[in-house]
Structures are given as structure tokens and as C-alpha cells.
Amino acid sequence: MKRLENLRSTEMGILRVSITVNGEPIEAFAGETVYAALSAAGFKGLRESKTGESRGAFCGMGVCYECLVTIDGKPQQRACITPVRDGMEILINET
């Protein structure tokens, strides 16, 4: 799924940043969260639960810990409250 059309206002100052998900570059903009970048790029399942179910972001505000991903080598980071940074390397669905 491509980034959804007509979602960003023309008055916004948008600065693109380069980030990768499991080594593949995806589109991201300075100021958004990792969850927003992942969601816009169509990534839904982000990790495996204790019993092996696929799970994705849920509460979106740092409460539920469902959106844990590895960011720049640091495991168990909440994608929903982490802003993207240029050069960020994200790993999802690690087993």
C-alpha cells in the first residue's frame, strides 16, 4: 500500500527523512512518529506476541506496549511515541 493520497495539507513544511524497515527504505517526514511512518507505508503486524500471534500498534499513545520494534539496535522501543530521525534503522517482526 502506498502512502495515502491527499493526506497532507499544502501549508505544511514537510522535510523528508530517510529511514529503513528491515533494510528497505520507506517514506518518512520529520516530526512524525515511527508508527505513523510504518502505518502510512502499509506495515501493520510489527511483532509476535508471547504465543506467536501477530500484533500491531493499538493504543497509539504509549500505554499498551503492542507496537514494540527495534530502533537503531535498541530492542523493545514503542513505535507510537518515538519520532523518526534521519538514518533511522527499524526492525520489525524479529524472531
Binding site: 495515502l4 495539507s9 516530526g31 500484533r55 500491531g56 493499538f58 497509539g60 499498551c64 514494540l68
Partner: protein
């Protein structure tokens, strides 16, 4: 010269901001600690300045007040620590904070205000853990803080005002809302209807949202609830059905809708863990089915020097939180000797009256948002209740049948609530489930809260140990 007294405000939502706004002009040193990336909390949901002002941010009078407060306190030199979490507090004004750089900072304040807000609560159904099922708050945050729609096609489900508001907002931003699966019946019972009529502006807003959704092609289904979210690894279909008076799904009423995203919300639970761990007395809010921090009408908790305001003293919406923040600010100023009693009483008279009105509205909304008993009774045995530890309804049900009727007991026996979220998601669900059981004397107790109230990195603690000379 005497140093300025230090006041720490936990939470930069409307309540914390309102308190800081009162305090910063009165000769105290105010520090706000906030988990959010931007001050403003869950009502304002502000985007990063780098993204500019997104067209979907609220523009009502309360939002404008909040935005001007953020500017005002920044001008007056209030320090706001964003992206930080307070992991502990005690009754003496000590606070332990993991700051944005993930380092442990200790603070000591003459007065502490807890304005930690509320989180969403949920009624589980089969498949609510599938990727693609998100909270209504998550849908709003994606849109308002990042300008991203959760999907092109969505379904909203739940109760209370939020699913309706969030569906209308996402629809206005270009999302195709397929349906609103809404627990409350279309026409509330006559008594509730007349009580709601005493808050006409809020009712007009709700009807406007509903009409806009219908005009955009959404199906609104009052008196229904989610039965199942289906899909292989991600959400593909939702199944819902009509409810009878007791909340049981009427056989044959089930319907299936194809969707990429489902947003759910079933009301709110107060974030009481920090003041609870500090030892503040709690009280049980029957209408909101949850524990809140016990405060007097001046927002003082049971412990001297500790105050609480906003959703944690009773879930009743943004305006009540804002008013209580102001009251707390004035009370702190009075207790620190920075404001005279005459001025205090004059300012508080109107604030208290507005607060009473908002509390009455909150009570009403909480009452009509309560889940019908059947919905909880009918949760299937294989539905996950604790998402962190994958504890199912069946496991919990068998413990309840054995007579275990406290959240703490069920936690120890099943690991429900022992995961990273520390029971913040499953706690209110477990509370609802146990409350259904007969022969309970008094309200079901909350999970206990211990420091650190949020998971923190060991490295944060190690840094602290090294800097204070403790050798490993």
C-alpha cells in the same frame, strides 16, 4: 532572598497547563513533566512544529485556550520536559523521572500536581488483537499529530462520545467510514434523554457528527456491538450484531463488513498509578466503573503537598479537567502563601460552579456508556484479555469460578496484568468482569501500583548508580 518554591506538574494536558498558567505568574518555579512529544495532552493532540499546523487539529474555544496557555507558560520560563515519564513519587514531594534522554532524574518539590489524564478502555471480542484493530485514540493521533489516515476504509465501534467524534474527524479528512457500530440505542431512555437535553451544545455537536457521517455514506448502527474481527494475520472483516436489552447478540442479526482498519473505544480509565504508588487515598467512581484519586473541592489529595486534577479525579471530559487545573493552581498558590484567601475565595466561586455542571454531564455520559451485562458475559473463552501475556478469558473465567475474585489474586495465578503495560489495558476489563460476579461486598479493588510505575531501561538506573558512586 528566599528561593522560589518549586512546583512539579505531572502531565501537560489541559489540566496541567491550566495549573501551570495560574502558578507561573505567582513567584514559583514550575516544572512540567510530560510523556507526550509535544505539550497539550490528548485533547489538543498537537503535531510536531516541523509538520506545521495540520488542518484537522481542533479549533474550538477550549483548544484555543490550551494553545495560548502553552505560549504563555513558555514565555514565562516554565520548563516543560517532554517525552519524559515520572516512574515514581512519594508523600514527601520526591519524584523520580526518566527524562527524554532516558536518564533518571530526581526532583524535590514543595507541591506536586498529578494531572496524568485517562486512557481508553475496551470490551474485548474475538480478534481484537489482530493488527489493523486500533483504538479510537490511535486513529485520532495518527491523523492529528502526523497527518496520516489509518487506512482508506475504516469501521469505528464502541460507546461514549469518542468513536462518534473520531469517525467524523477521520471522515472529514478523506477516509471512507463504512460503519459506526454503536453500543447505545438510537433513542436513549426518556429519563436520560431529558437529562442530556440540559447540555444542548454537546448534543448538537453529536448530532452534527452523526449527520455528517451519514452524508458521507457511513452506515450508523445504534444498539449493536462487535462480535469478531477476522483476518489472516491482519484484519480483513468485522462481524457485528444487534443487542437485546441485556446486551446479548440477537441470533441471526450478525452482519459482515470488509475493512482495512477497525477503531474501537469503550470509554476511559483514569491514570491513577502514580498517585496510588505515592500513597494518595483513592475512591471508587460507580458511574465510571473505576478508581479515581480522592480530592477535596480544592483538589488536595489525602497527602499534604500533593494535588490531583483532571480525568484522574473523575472522568468527565476536557472542560472539567481545565477547570480543575485552574482550581488546583490557585489552591497550591494559597497553600504556599503566594495568594491571599480573599482573592482565592472570589476566584473559586465561579470555577466550582462550572465544575459541578461538567461533573453532572460526565456522570451522565459514563452511565450511558456502561456495557450491558450480556456483552461481558458472552466473551468467548479463547478471547485474549491480557494482551501482553496472552491470558485468555477461559483462564480467567476458571479462576473466577474457583472463587478468586480480586484482580491481584487473578494476576498472581494467571499472569494477567503482569506484562509491560502493567495491567493498564486489561486492568479495567478484569475489573468489569469481576464486578459482574454476585456476592461482592463493596467495589472490586484496583491492581496495586508499585514504583517504577512504568517500565524503564536498566541503563537509566545504572547511570544514576554510577553518578552517585555506587559500584557494581
Amino acid at each position: 532572598m528566599k528561593p522560589k518554591p518549586k512546583v512539579v506538574v505531572v502531565g501537560a494536558g489541559l489540566s496541567g497547563l491550566a495549573a501551570a498558567g495560574v502558578l507561573c505568574g505567582r513567584g514559583c518555579d514550575v516544572v512540567i513533566v510530560d510523556e507526550g512529544l509535544q505539550p497539550g495532552g490528548q485533547y489538543l493532540k498537537r503535531p510536531d512544529p516541523g509538520l506545521g499546523r495540520l488542518p484537522w487539529n481542533p479549533r474550538d474555544s477550549l483548544s484555543s485556550l490550551g494553545l495560548s496557555l502553552i505560549e504563555q507558560i513558555a514565555r514565562q520560563g516554565v520548563q516543560c520536559m517532554s517525552g519524559a515519564q515520572v516512574v515514581g513519587a512519594d508523600g514527601e514531594g520526591n519524584l523520580w523521572v526518566e527524562n527524554g534522554e532516558r536518564r533518571l532524574v530526581e526532583m524535590k518539590a514543595e507541591a506536586v500536581l498529578f494531572a496524568t489524564g485517562a486512557r481508553e478502555r475496551f470490551i474485548p471480542f474475538d480478534g481484537w488483537t489482530l493488527p489493523g484493530v486500533i483504538s479510537t485514540g490511535a486513529a485520532q493521533l495518527l491523523l492529528k499529530t502526523c497527518g496520516v489516515l489509518p487506512a482508506k476504509r475504516m469501521v469505528f465501534a464502541g460507546c461514549g462520545p469518542l468513536p462518534l467524534t473520531a469517525a467524523a474527524e477521520t471522515s472529514a479528512a478523506g477516509c471512507r467510514i463504512r460503519a459506526l457500530i454503536y453500543q447505545a440505542p438510537l433513542f436513549p431512555a426518556a429519563k436520560v434523554f431529558f437529562q442530556l437535553a440540559t447540555h444542548p451544545t454537546k448534543m448538537v455537536e453529536a448530532w452534527k457528527s452523526m449527520l455528517r457521517l451519514v452524508a458521507a455514506g457511513a452506515i450508523i448502527r445504534p444498539g449493536t456491538a462487535m462480535i469478531e474481527a477476522r483476518g489472516k494475520d491482519v484484519l480483513e472483516h468485522v462481524v457485528y450484531g444487534s443487542l437485546d436489552q441485556e446486551g446479548n447478540v440477537i441470533p441471526g442479526s450478525e452482519k459482515v463488513i470488509r475493512t482495512d482498519c477497525l477503531a474501537i473505544g469503550h470509554g476511559f480509565a483514569a491514570n491513577i498509578e502514580l498517585p496510588q504508588a505515592a500513597g494518595c487515598r483513592l475512591s471508587f467512581d460507580r458511574d465510571a466503573r473505576g478508581w479515581i484519586v480522592d480530592v477535596d473541592e480544592c483538589m488536595r489529595t489525602s497527602l499534604p503537598g500533593l494535588y490531583a486534577s483532571g480525568e484522574i479525579t473523575g472522568v468527565a471530559g476536557a472542560r472539567k479537567s481545565f477547570i480543575e487545573g485552574k482550581i488546583a493552581g490557585h489552591s497550591i498558590a494559597l497553600d504556599l502563601g503566594l495568594q491571599g484567601g480573599v482573592e482565592y475565595r472570589r476566584r473559586l466561586r465561579d470555577l466550582k460552579r462550572t465544575r459541578e455542571k461538567e461533573l453532572r454531564f460526565g456522570k451522565l455520559i459514563n452511565r450511558i456508556s456502561a456495557p450491558p451485562v450480556g456483552l461481558l458475559h458472552n466473551i468467548h473463552d479463547d478471547t485474549v484479555i491480557c494482551r501482553c501475556e496472552d491470558v485468555t478469558m477461559g483462564t480467567i473465567r476458571s479462576r473466577m469460578v474457583d472463587g478468586m475474585l480480586t484482580p491481584g489474586g487473578i494476576k498472581r495465578m494467571t499472569r494477567c496484568g503482569m506484562g509491560l503495560c502493567q495491567g493498564r489495558t486489561c486492568g479495567p476489563i478484569l475489573h468489569d468482569l469481576i464486578s459482574l460476579q454476585a456476592d461482592l461486598t463493596g467495589p472490586v479493588p484496583p491492581f496495586s501500583a508499585r514504583i517504577p510505575v512504568k517500565p524503564m531501561a536498566l541503563s537509566s538506573l545504572l547511570d544514576r548508580a554510577e553518578s552517585s558512586g555506587i559500584k557494581g
